[in-house]
């Protein structure tokens, strides 16, 4: 996801202003001008200066882009790329939501099976890999390292 530096600069400037304002609300050491807010304030100032530089480089980038006609990649390939990349956060979110209910084993099996099938287009391979991975992870983490992985809720 490539976005113009000007836009990133604006977001960063807003973030640094909010951080500075938040840092000013933190208490100070008694009788002194500094405290827990000093370091975050310095970071906010640094980020604000950086955001100005980013906006400037983004503006130059935008001007150059306008001058040269760019050949954009096809929408189809972009959508495919995006869907494949999305499978990673989707799998992680699915684990966070489903594992407390379905338990580790079933969630792990479903994630690995679905992802291997989605990426390799082979059902048998995906089932074999998912079963083996679930078994190995279960024994490694639960039996060997004593990690209390979530179990089946029902």
């Amino acid at each position: 996801m490539r976005i113009n530096d000007m836009f990133t600069g604006v977001i960063l400037a807003i973030l640094s202003i909010l951080l500075y304002r938040y840092a000013q609300t933190l208490p100070k050491l008694s009788g002194m001008d500094y405290g827990p807010g000093t370091f975050p304030s310095l970071i906010a100032c640094g980020l604000f200066i950086g955001s100005l530089g980013l906006m400037l480089s983004g503006f130059t980038q935008y001007r150059n882009q306008k001058a040269q006609a760019s050949s954009a990649p096809t929408a189809g390939s972009n959508r495919h790329h995006f869907l494949y990349a999305l499978s990673v956060p989707a799998a992680i979110i699915f684990y966070m939501v489903a594992s407390p209910w379905l338990g580790f084993s079933l969630t792990c099996f479903l994630i690995v099976c679905a992802m291997v099938r989605w990426l390799s287009h082979r059902w048998l391979l995906s089932i074999i890999v998912a079963v083996c991975t679930t078994a190995v992870m279960w024994f490694a983490f639960v039996k060997a390292l004593y990690v209390p992985l979530p179990t089946f809720y029902f």
């Binding site: 933190l26 002194m32 405290g35 827990p36 970071i43 640094g46 950086g50 494949y84 994630i111 990690v147």
Partner: protein, 503 residues
């Protein structure tokens, strides 16, 4: 001496030896897969190190990183695809030699040079680091503040891409480091009322997110298009005639090892920079520079000695000052902090056995790399045929469970996802991630020493330059910042001035 024997006793125990062997095999596998780096191998090991003692944990990381850097040469030679960025400098030369039917020999030569470079560098740093630690025992918060800032600034200076983006990545890392209870007054900062955030951003999910999840986000979309399968070249016989070549290129090995160790010691520069610098220097002083890039072994010898030597070098600033030399040692510092050990000069007196153990494990890992490397070269065809469509889901599930396992918390899995997405976004927009992770680790050190010095000096910033060492460190930091701020405009000004002259 007692520490040395204690370290020997601990390293040569069955659990630690098995850990070294397992991590070495893991490192060889990860390094041999194109695109998977030493940092990723280390980050994937971090959740497991949570269940180990300090020496066992560091042994695992050292063994895996040493093997990964060598194993990166395997696909580089057989496929012309560098396994890790540290092999990129000599990929063309290695592949061209392999095409002549000498793949096994060139990999054998890489292996021997890596071993020699790695062992010599450890012997050098084992003499150098304690002396440096003795000097740094007199350091106060002023020197530590400047040292940490110098480390961060160097990381920005050597990072790829624009200086401004490196500075912003560093700023974001510092911002993440202030989340949690503040060390001055014990006040929660940026926690938004969350109990999970009160202890700060957890190191394990952050590392796994930035180095593994972000990598998966970059790699998995490539599987959507039809994959062109490149058949690896056959390795053939390994080590045939390599002894003779090693003897004939003693100077290149010595040069590469020296460059690698020095580059490793510099904060922020790692194995990939060491390999490029050693290759360039070797070419500059070679009698046959015209042969470089056409399948010539001299550059490979210097660069493969350098990339492995730099690994040991990176432990000098990490152990002596607590400042990471590269991303792998940033993770090592995170692991040591998790184990209640604060890296710094005191480590040499309070944790002497750990320091000796690191040296011993480096030598041991380099020695076992000869048989394990030989096996890896011989079985390279099988390793390179593992389909990414199977490997990536396995890495993902390991990341999820690994992040969860440290604190048994699904919140940490969320942190991993958030960090992965942030790192992916940053890299896509050409922000380097190394300054971010170094700032996250060094942030608390910078802030703590800054606040201590500020309170001591009653707010007078000139007092930061009052002590001689602090003054020189401060000046060095300010020079780096001047280079960061004015380096770009100065270069473009010089370019403009030279253009009419060239015309």
């Amino acid at each position: 001496m007692l520490d040395f024997f204690s370290a020997l006793d601990q390293v040569f125990s069955v659990p630690v030896l098995l850990t070294i062997l397992g991590s070495a095999a893991f490192g060889l596998f990860i390094g041999a897969i194109p695109g998977l780096t030493a940092t990723m191998a280390t980050a994937l090991l971090v959740p497991l190190t949570f269940f180990m003692g300090p020496i066992q944990a560091i042994s695992a990381i050292v063994a895996a990183s040493v093997m990964t850097i060598f194993a990166g040469d395997i696909p580089s030679t057989l496929l012309r695809i560098p396994g890790t960025p540290a092999s990129a400098a000599y990929t063309d030369d290695a592949y061209l030699i392999a095409q002549k039917g000498k793949a096994g020999q060139i990999l054998g030569l890489n292996l021997l040079c890596s071993v020699i470079g790695g062992i010599i560098a450890v012997l050098v740093i084992s003499q150098f680091a304690p002396a440096l630690a003795r000097v740094s025992l007199s350091f106060t918060s002023d020197e530590y503040f400047w040292l940490a800032l110098l480390g961060l600034s160097s990381a920005v200076l050597v990072a790829r891409g624009s200086a401004i983006k490196g500075c912003i990545a560093m700023g974001l890392g510092l911002l993440l480091s202030v989340i949690g209870i503040d060390s001055v007054m014990g006040i929660p900062r940026l926690t938004f009322g969350s109990i999970d955030l009160a202890a700060g951003i957890s190191i394990i999910p952050t590392m796994v997110g930035i180095f593994a999840v972000a990598e998966l986000l970059r790699k998995i979309p490539a599987l959507s298009s039809a994959q062109t399968v490149t058949t690896p070249l056959k390795a053939g016989s390994v080590f045939k005639g390599t002894g003779r070549q090693v003897r004939a290129n003693k100077r290149s090995i010595a040069g590469g090892t020296t460059v690698g160790t020095i580059v490793g010691i510099l904060p922020g520069a790692g194995a990939d920079i060491a390999a490029w610098v050693a290759y360039a220097i070797s070419k500059r002083f070679s009698k046959t520079p015209e042969k470089y890039g056409t399948g010539h072994a001299e550059g490979i010898i210097a660069a493969s000695s350098a990339n492995n030597a730099s690994l040991s070098g990176t432990y000098v600033p990490a152990l002596v000052f607590g400042i990471p030399g590269d991303t792998v040692t940033a993770i090592v510092i995170g692991v040591l902090l998790m184990k209640g050990i604060t890296p710094g000069p005191m480590v040499f007196t309070t944790e002497g056995a750990l320091v000796y153990a690191i040296y011993i494990v480096f030598i041991l890992a380099n020695l076992i790399m000869i048989p394990l490397g030989w096996i890896a070269i011989r079985s390279a065809g099988k390793v390179l045929s593992v389909p990414s469509s199977v490997l990536y889901p396995l890495i993902l599930i390991f990341c999820i469970v690994g992040s969860y396992a440290a604190n048994n918390s699904l919140f940490d899995v969320g942190v991993m996802l958030a960090m992965g997405v942030i790192a992916y976004f940053l890299e896509k927009n050409e922000f380097p991630t190394a300054p971010l992770i170094l700032a996250l680790i060094l942030g608390p050190i910078v802030e703590e020493n800054f606040m201590k010095s500020l309170i001591k000096a009653n707010g007078d910033l000139m007092m930061f330059f009052d002590r001689p060492t602090a003054m020189w460190l401060g000046i060095a930091t300010l020079i780096i910042w001047s280079l960061l701020i004015f380096g770009g405009p100065l270069r473009s000004l010089l370019r403009k001035k030279t253009q009419p002259l060239n015309a």
